[in-house]
Amino acid sequence: MPEYFFGGPEIDRNLLLYIQKRRRLSLIGGGSIFAVFFTLVLLIAFFPHVLLIPIGAAPGFNLGMLFAFLVLISIVILTGLYVRQTNRIVAAETMRLGEDK
């Protein structure tokens, strides 16, 4: 474990802020992935009629299929954004905590 994280109250406060930032990001990232998915699950379970609304003439072109596609794409995008954002924060904090040392 890097020694400087136990170096004094100032450093500890920085570390705490960093951990809080990471937690906030986890909650936003994980929470939005789960929320997007669970919205579709709840629609399928309790409000299926919403998903039957047509968005085109051909069979299969309805709100349900569109939602399914959008949810899948959203999860992949949210995952990518989370990884990018986390790596950015980790890199920035590494530099800052290193300078504090």
């Binding site: 994980g30 579709l40 699950v41 379970a45 299969g60 399914a68 596609f69 899948l72 999860i75 995952t79």
Partner: protein
């Protein structure tokens, strides 16, 4: 339909075996230490590990089973498609990098960082073994039946071949061989599914409207194929399945073990992204194109339907019938080989997770604590692999003809109930105590198993009773909640709950989980 006697299919089958054995021989030369055996020396890159995670997850049930389910039930199957991807998203946001920073080879390493090692390792090893063996059994039974159909081999010989190959891969090549077999399989599966999707679209003039219109015209449920309601008749069943699959994915020992194969937390995060990308790509092709393509080309086609109008060999054969329709014996041979490779890769991962639970958690850290050398631990791992493989073969032979769906359901339900609650609380709740973790794992394990046994698949399907005592095939929702409650109640009534030593240990874990041993 069988492929027996088809020289192309047999040649592809032999080619897959030869390629995977060559990978194993190469990996065996690189596998000397415990770290190499369990974690591929932690030298796998994020992208490689992501592909391997996809290979580890996408079993024959994914390729053959989900295509068959879409063919029969249409839209509702989207929950099976999205849940694993969401499960990985949850793993990414809350667990992956922390597990990598805290553990070495198994998720029990993470639990035992701040809890008493012996009790938590024993319960974690038992639940890991239960999950892995159940899943392994489901895969082996499915593999035996599939190879029997594909190549005309007797079921017993098919089971022994798969069992012997998985013992060879894991005992000789450890995680390095397992990883590269999974990467090879994931690549073959992704390309194979993409090829099938392109051929389907070509037949439908590259117009999804034409494809869907044909499917709706031929399917017994017409437009209902694209609407909710054919698979789930009870709203809670779909919610319970979704929760079980998401949290089960985050509790599968062979998936969690993969995060120790990368060098650092950053690569752990990257690996989840690649896994989501590949699994999302393959499953979306299966859902939006392949499943409905199967309806469009196979329903009412006398080449692939029996006397009653049902599909020959059952709906699990839909993907392979479709391959034959689209590409004749050549594509059928290729996709049969892909199905075979799919089985081999998944069983290898499961065998390694089971062996690690025995050799690393139980033998090296409980029974012979601090008294065993690294060489001996690897030797015990290889012996454990052989033991697990023989057990899986025997179970596969004993459960021939059984409905494998409930075994896979049980594995996910147990993982979601026994592993996930204790792991997530170990990472985030300072109040968790050893006693809470142990009793929570036991409660999750027992409740999940009892509820699945009393449910429709076992109580009615396997035991022949007229009605289930638990109405849900996937009762995860009702076993996860008691598991969390047990952990909470036992922990808050435990004197360890508010001890200063416990708080200090949690703080140390928090810092290490965020920063790793080498800094951020």
């Amino acid at each position: 339909m069988t492929n027996s006697g088809d020289p192309l299919a047999i040649a592809m089958f032999v080619l897959v075996i030869l390629v995977t054995l060559a990978i194993t021989a190469w990996a065996a030369r690189k596998t000397k230490t415990a770290n190499e055996f369990y974690a591929a020396g932690s030298r796998i890159s994020g992208a490689q590990n992501g592909i391997a995670i996809a290979g580890d997850f996408m079993s024959a049930a994914t390729f053959l089973g989900i295509t068959g389910l879409i063919f029969a039930h249409g839209y509702d199957i989207i929950i099976y498609i999205l849940s694993p991807v969401v499960g990985l998203g949850i793993v990414l946001a809350f667990m992956a990098d922390k597990i990598r920073n805290l553990g070495r080879y198994t998720f029990a390493d993470v639990l035992s960082f701040r809890l008493k090692e012996k009790p938590v390792r024993i319960t974690a090893a038992i639940s890991s073994l239960a999950i892995s063996l159940l899943y392994l059994m489901a895969q082996i039974v499915g593999a035996g039946a599939l190879i029997q159909i594909l190549f005309g081999l007797p079921y017993e010989i098919a089971v022994v071949i798969v069992g012997a190959l998985m013992i060879l891969y894991v005992s000789l090549g450890g995680m390095i061989a397992t990883t590269w077999v999974q990467i090879t399989k994931a690549a073959m599966l992704s390309l194979g599914i993409a090829l099938i999707a392109i051929l389907i679209l070509a037949e439908a003039e590259f117009d999804l409207g034409v494809l869907y219109a044909n499917s709706a015209a031929l399917h017994a449920n017409g437009r209902g194929l694209f609407e909710p309601g054919l698979h789930f008749h009870d709203p809670l069943a779909s919610v319970s399945l979704a929760i079980g699959l998401v949290m089960g994915m985050a509790g599968l020992p062979h998936i969690l073990m993969r995060f120790f194969t990368v060098p650092d937390a950053k690569q752990a995060r990257r690996s989840v992204f690649f896994a989501v990308l590949i699994i999302g790509f393959v499953l979306s092709l299966i859902f939006f194109i392949v499943g409905f393509g199967a309806v469009s080309f196979l329903v009412g086609n006398p080449d692939f339907t029996g006397e009653g109008g049902g599909i020959m060999g059952g709906t699990n054969m839909v993907a392979l019938h479709l391959s034959r329709y689209l590409g004749g014996p050549v594509l059928l041979g290729i996709m049969s080989a892909v199905a075979f490779a799919t089985i081999l890769a998944v069983v290898a991962g499961l065998t390694l997770a089971s062996a690690a639970a025995i050799s690393h958690d139980l033998y090296a850290n409980v029974f012979r604590k601090d008294k065993t050398g690294e060489g001996r631990e690897v030797l015990v791992s290889r012996i454990a692999t052989i033991g697990v493989g023989i057990t899986a073969i025997l179970l596969g032979l004993a459960f021939e003809g059984q409905n494998i769906a409930y075994m896979a359901a049980l594995a996910f339900t147990v993982a979601a109930s026994a592993n996930f609650p204790v792991l997530i609380l170990a990472l985030y709740w300072p109040g968790l105590t050893t006693r809470g973790a142990v009793w929570g794992t036991i409660a999750g394990l027992v409740i999940a198993i009892v509820m699945v046994i009393l449910g429709p698949a076992v109580w009615v399907g396997a035991l022949g009773n007229p009605a289930p005592l638990v109405p849900f095939e996937y009762p995860a929702l009702f076993s996860i909640i008691p598991a969390f409650l047990t952990i909470w109640i036992v922990s808050i009534t435990d004197p360890e709950h508010k001890s200063e030593a416990s708080k200090k240990r949690f703080q140390e874990q928090l810092i290490l989980s965020e920063l790793g041993s080498g800094g951020i």
